[in-house]
Subunit: 403 residues, 2 copies
Amino acid sequence: MINVAVLGYGTVGSGVVEVIEKNKDMVNKKSAQELEVKYILDLRDFPGDPYENKVIHDFNTILQDDSVTIICETMGGVGAAYQFTKQALELGKSVCTSNKELVAKHGPELLQIAREHNCNYLFEASVGGGIPIIRPLNYSLTAEKIEAVNGILNGTTNYILSKMEKEGADFDTVLKEAQDKGYAERNPEADVEGYDACRKIAILSSLMFGKNVDSEKVPTEGITKITAADFEYANAAEYTIKLLGRSRAIDDDTAEVMVAPFMLPKDHPLAMVYGVFNAVFVTGNMLGDSMYYGRGAGKLPTASAVVSDVIDCARHQGKVIMCFWDKEEVKLVDTRESVRSFFIRAKAGAKGAVEAAFPGGRELHLADRKEDFGYFTQPMKESEFLAKYEALGEQMLGRIRLV
Amino acid sequence: MINVAVLGYGTVGSGVVEVIEKNKDMVNKKSAQELEVKYILDLRDFPGDPYENKVIHDFNTILQDDSVTIICETMGGVGAAYQFTKQALELGKSVCTSNKELVAKHGPELLQIAREHNCNYLFEASVGGGIPIIRPLNYSLTAEKIEAVNGILNGTTNYILSKMEKEGADFDTVLKEAQDKGYAERNPEADVEGYDACRKIAILSSLMFGKNVDSEKVPTEGITKITAADFEYANAAEYTIKLLGRSRAIDDDTAEVMVAPFMLPKDHPLAMVYGVFNAVFVTGNMLGDSMYYGRGAGKLPTASAVVSDVIDCARHQGKVIMCFWDKEEVKLVDTRESVRSFFIRAKAGAKGAVEAAFPGGRELHLADRKEDFGYFTQPMKESEFLAKYEALGEQMLGRIRLV
């Protein structure tokens, strides 16, 4: 029998307890032994909860109990979660986490501590919620050189963009509705500004290279400037708009990594990923394109991924599971040096100026919009585009990169 | 160093050699040791081939060489491939295969022999070509009770159906073109009659239950009766037509498994899987829906999956990798007892008869088609539907199940 401790009895933590309980037969069969949640660490008490007698408040109880060999860290944050994870790994207790912030920030260090103490630090739930993506990258696509990863990595922003597209609503309206429904946080910054997607693409890029991509160095742009009008033009041109985390290998040590809204053709597999669903599109040098799709968040999907890690730890007690992610930094190229096309939305009066600044592009006029027009530029260096775009000043109403 | 032997130097076998050679750095890093192809078994010689000096004709050379611990079986068929696989496993040599026919027919027996001899029988490439699906089912979705698997599992038929949809062409025309391009075999029966998809859904269902689904008991219907006219109606009703392998758990021991063309809504994630791409849509009791998408066939994608198995064997020498697939049979329910809706295409004159036989359905008339009409029935038992449909005789031009 293996005793498990759950740190943090919030949404994901309570989901972990629920999955282990509800799918007990399957979990025990796949673990080849019985799993039991022995402790739930939380600052709060949970009177009336079926597991209230497992709730404790002192992490040392878990550390000092040698019968606990697997810990689920579902607290979030990089303070106590970091300390607890480190202490646990140093004692040879494996840790399974859904905490992308901590994985993005201290992943390579915690993996090394785990290796040194013959235990595991697993984080399937940190990217894509319930979508198996960490394991496919680590254990399935092992014969591949991964050339690129493109992902819809945040459910809240994908829900907002999907609603804007389908209902013609504006960002603020849909955000408010999403907040009321609990799909978006009261403080939505981490989602709508792209920070959450940034952490996730940094984790995926790190696994792609086996070296570290520092999330703080990844250029990140959110979706707050996307408007209903942008979707009207996108739709007319057979495009959609998605917040993408993108990573492209330049060579074995160098990558272009970024998070930004992109226009992509409606027949691209990522274009059909709607609502709270996420998907990761992986391009390998032998396999070509593959995609992993599913619920990117939510209590039970995320918990299911954490428990799959617990099962993996149970089956590999005392053994280190392969994960290549060294501290060495991947060099990030300046995304402004990349060449791509842009969509521009501009005031009707700016037609001549836009054509002069971006020759050879394609204009798009919509019958019901007299006040503005759309324009797709030829491929050009991003820095050059941005300089010209900004020089055109208030005539410009918006710009979106094309994939 | 690990010596590898490749059985069969055809499309996939030569791809395996190419992947190991081209991605040598990655393959050796992930294997944590050097992999070397020592023998290539084939009846033919390959003068001028860069690996011609590795080509041998006698399997005993491989069996008797203790330095060969991993074998790639890329011969196909259930004759020699079965004998060779068995002999290799009995000597403790792991076998990695792309041979779905053999896996579907003798999977549980070969897995048991592997277990008894402390080696592995792996078959990631047997379903979905390069798409990681066997490993996600075996190692990722371990905390899930899988409720259903729906897959587009055959690239040839999906290519044909996609072409028919996009070009309005008929089955025979597109098949001939596909044969000319090498996308379809001269003898296309295994693909177009659904037998290939049937083996694959049997393998996936077996892994879903951990028990055996006998592919020979799976009701299988191909795509030869689908017409350009069916696609016209489907398109007008916002549907598409796909050949699906479907498996649905009734309880822990009982399933409904079938292969047939289905109409599915255009916004279903499987509907956007076009051309030679394949996808597997998995529904779990915690995770909900997830999907795995990629190239379902082709030399390098399939070879990449075989090599990922080789790497797994290399990392687990002398250890048995978890795979639940017992000989015990899953009970299959009679698909004719299932309740679903059907699409009917019927001669224009049969309007009254169709409405009388299938009351409460939805008619569909197309302006440019006077000779026939479409009809969507209410959900009804399949056996009841078929009896009534057949009773209407030559008035009926086609029928397709709805998902």
